[in-house]
Symmetry: C2
Subunit: 209 residues, 2 copies
Amino acid sequence: MSIAQQRVDEFLRTLASDAPTPGGGAVAALAGATGAALVAMVCNLTIGRKGYEDVEARMRAILAEAETARAAFLALADRDATAFDGVMAAFKMPKETDADKAVRSQAIQQGYEGAATVPLEIARRAADLMELARETTEAGNANASSDGACAAQALSSAVWCATYNVDINAASLKDQSKATALRDEVSALRASARALLDATDAAFGSRLG
Amino acid sequence: MSIAQQRVDEFLRTLASDAPTPGGGAVAALAGATGAALVAMVCNLTIGRKGYEDVEARMRAILAEAETARAAFLALADRDATAFDGVMAAFKMPKETDADKAVRSQAIQQGYEGAATVPLEIARRAADLMELARETTEAGNANASSDGACAAQALSSAVWCATYNVDINAASLKDQSKATALRDEVSALRASARALLDATDAAFGSRLG
């Protein structure tokens, strides 16, 4: 069953179990979806409110982006589990002949690459959305500024959780140029998340008065 | 309906709406529950596994603590909404006579204090559990070390999201000694979360090899 359709407590029970998926990758995607929902919440608490007429058009645009992102993150939560299942299926392939071994080894490498690609997409989307979390915290309804700051925290946690999963899959790649390219993007995404989290934190502090 | 019993996508839809609750406080509690589930996951992937006999008893003890914490966080997610509803109910109290106004003002202040107390409990529990996230990342199944690191991220985000809600409620308190005591504890919890997140990150890096 899709993670989106599971009950909160049932998802958490499965997460806590010894099944290898869902794990940190699905958590990253759900943190992204939660951050997107909180950005949307701040927009919805700003649109049509007295004193916020000047930012209304912008809040409508951000709301549309946040709603698209929420759906994308929920789809990525399911895709992450499937990608990792691919690694495990490859490990179960026959390895009797040299030809078997070559095919299996290639499938394993493709599995790790695929399992790194999905969290990388989660991290990219979450880092992008952090700029909108910062903007809604700064310019949205002041009473909801803590929700904007929480959006930034959820999205930052999505970036980090996702990139830990990129790291662990990249560590199994034999192609060092691919592994290095992944690690470089991870570093850039983390640096961006750190800067946007600090900026949002400062915006929240100034809304607090 | 209890948040634990809601479907993931339905909870997120309500979160994104213009209803003032659920908001960042419920998100903090759910991030705590998610972190607790990930700590339990690492324990469950370590107990009974070859090469981890020495840490098995310890992992069983951590598992029990993580399971208790998960249930507590789910209860706190519901309590947070109720606490904030208390503030809003107080604002709707009559304010015709001076006596009305005095009673209403006291109820509002008690409402803010209560609304600050629940996220403070979330932040305390999350900060405590971060030490166990660090330990499972360092000593648990190496293949699940990314899940341990994600647990620390989820718990750190719980500490921050919860303390933003302490901040915003403390800002409305007239009793400055109470407000200062709340802010001092917030600072201490954030410092602890920052240090434990860095330590867990380092532990994950060393497990990665």
